[in-house]
């Protein structure tokens, strides 16, 4: 299917409900969102507004109550081939070494051992973890675990990266450093990203577009096109007057929700 005819990701009239213990929670309502091939879109919103739920829909882990999500024009039924998820808590396998964790998607795809090893080495070098292949996740700092999780998703090489507050639990310094490295790698890879965060600066610095969501049930409240030139300096861009103006506007939208 030629991707030029369809947006990479197309979400229409989405409504998502949860049923637990006889209780019905509407997590998302009337969500419409298109993401172009290679576009970087961030979603910000108060906690509990359905950001993670949105990613679960796109990754096929959850079924919508109404509306649909399409990738390359095809409705998402099961887990689609095109998505790769970076989980909030890394979701690393504690019983596997760093290199085995990164190898996982390649092994699942049935790549040969030699190919796996070569690719793992390349990716570990890319995220700055050469020499740590034999370590277990327990032996790594939060920032290093995050790099492993990123390397694993790069190994899978999806068309759409789904990232759920990936840098959330890191300290400010590590967070900027990893964000910077991720931006540098992404600018080379050029795949679509749907990025969840609660950090407005991070969202603007990374994205082509920032979506602000309302409190539960989550709806799209506002949308900002970020037309800062690329490649961007992930940290220094924050002193740009255009950045500051955007930051203020996004903040005003978010403040109404809190």
């Amino acid at each position: 299917m030629p991707s030029s005819n369809h947006p990479k990701l197309d979400i229409r009239d989405l409504r998502v409900e949860y049923y637990t213990k006889g209780q019905n929670t509407v997590a998302l309502e009337d969500v419409n969102l298109k993401i172009a091939d290679g576009e970087f879109v961030s979603v910000v919103g108060p906690s509990g507004c359905g950001k993670s739920t949105l990613l679960k829909i796109v990754s096929g882990l959850l079924k919508p109550a109404r509306g649909e999500a399409k990738i390359d024009g095809e409705s998402i039924k099961d887990v689609p081939d095109q998505v790769g998820m970076v989980f909030q808590n890394d979701a690393l396998l504690p019983w596997k070494t760093v290199q085995d964790n990164v190898r996982l998607p390649l092994a699942v795809k049935g790549k040969s051992k030699a190919e796996q090893e070569q690719e793992v080495n390349r990716l570990l070098e890319m995220v700055g973890l050469s020499g740590f292949g034999g370590f277990y996740p327990k032996q790594l700092s939060g920032g290093m675990k995050k790099r492993v999780a990123l390397a694993r998703t790069f190994a899978y090489d999806p068309d759409i990266y789904l990232m759920d507050e990936p840098f959330g639990p890191l300290d400010a310094q590590t967070r900027v450093k990893i964000g910077e490295e991720f931006l540098r790698i992404w600018e080379k890879v050029g795949k679509s990203v749907l990025f969840i965060t609660h950090d407005i600066e991070e969202a603007i610095a990374l994205s082509d577009r920032v979506i602000v969501m309302t409190a539960r049930p989550g709806r799209i409240k506002a949308e900002f096109k970020i037309e800062l030139p690329r490649p961007r300096p992930f940290y220094d861009i924050r002193f740009d007057p255009q950045f500051k103006a955007l930051q203020r506007e996004v903040w005003l939208q978010m403040a109404e929700e809190a």
């Binding site: 990754s59 096929g60 882990l61 887990v79 081939d81 998505v83 790769g84 998820m85 989980f87 808590n89 979701a91 396998l93 504690p94 019983w95 596997k96 996982l104 998607p105 092994a107 699942v108 700055g128 740590f132 370590f135 277990y136 327990k138 032996q139 790594l140 700092s141 920032g143 290093m144 899978y156 590590t174």
Partner: protein, 268 residues
């Protein structure tokens, strides 16, 4: 990066916590308790108590050596061990597989689970006579007894292990489009390994109890038989020698499990 590396190294080298005593102190203490208990027993037996009823460590030691020399110990212990280990293997495998299957069986789980727990609450020791009626007094009835002793704990641990698998890890496998075999290999089995090792540890004792009880009920060989025979002869030294042998076997098997566990859980 350099800072992160230092953190990683600091984690690899675990400093001893305050209040944690050294291995030497622990072992010296253990040996002291052992010597004290055995010494008291040796001294008081024949003085405070009639040694006919409570025997004596020295008598038990001598008997043990005699039995090793004559081959009697191996004759009985090997029989008990064979029953216990065969039953343990069958029960662990069966119980664990059953636990996995039932945990993933959807609504069937809800139908069956209460009945499994009802059977579990039965004093299984009382099934020994029934198994003899069904399977004769040979080895098979005794192995079945051991299986009955161990299968529930194996089932329960595997079942709970499955229910405690980190949901994010399973979601992660799903987003990589892993098939069931890959999910089993990469996530399910490693996740429940801790639980299986726990059930194995608990079940070593259970398996020996099962084997010995089956032998007590009806057998002409095994440590259980040796104990009941000694009891008929009013030979307390023989009874204690049988008990000590069972204890030694349990300790030995437990050490084997500890070594296996250390290897399998070295990532923690």
């Amino acid at each position: 990066m350099a800072m992160e590396m230092k953190q990683a190294q600091a984690q690899a080298r675990k400093p001893r916590l305050r209040g944690e005593s050294s291995a030497a102190t622990v072992w010296l203490g253990r040996i002291a308790v052992f010597v004290l208990a055995i010494g008291l027993w040796e001294l008081l037996s024949g003085r405070a108590f009639n040694s006919f009823w409570v025997s004596k460590p020295s008598l038990i030691g001598v008997r043990l050596l005699q039995m090793i020399e004559s081959g009697d110990l191996w004759f009985h212990a090997s029989f008990t061990l064979q029953i216990a280990i065969t039953g343990l293997a069958i029960g662990m495998l069966g119980g664990t597989l059953l636990g996995i299957v039932i945990a993933y069986s959807g609504v069937v789980e809800k139908w069956i689970y209460p009945y499994i727990m009802a059977i579990y609450s039965l004093p299984r020791v009382s099934l020994a006579p029934l198994f003899i009626v069904w399977f004769g007094i040979g080895m098979s009835s005794k192995v079945v007894m051991v299986v009955a002793m161990v299968i529930f704990v194996a089932f329960y641990n595997a079942y709970e292990g499955i229910r405690n698998i980190d949901k994010d890890l399973m979601d992660m496998m799903k987003t990589y489009k892993a098939n069931w075999w890959d999910k089993l290999r990469w996530v399910v089995l490693p996740s429940i390994t801790v639980w299986i090792l726990t059930s194995l540890r608990l079940n070593i004792g259970m398996a020996l109890i099962g084997a010995v009880i089956a032998e007590l009920v009806g057998s002409n060989r095994g440590l259980g038989y040796y104990i009941s025979y000694s009891s008929n002869m009013l030979d307390t030294t023989g009874i204690f020698t049988g008990l000590v042998s069972i204890m030694l076997i349990a300790i030995l098997l437990e050490q084997v499990i500890n070594i296996v566990a250390k290897r399998l859980l070295k990532y923690r």
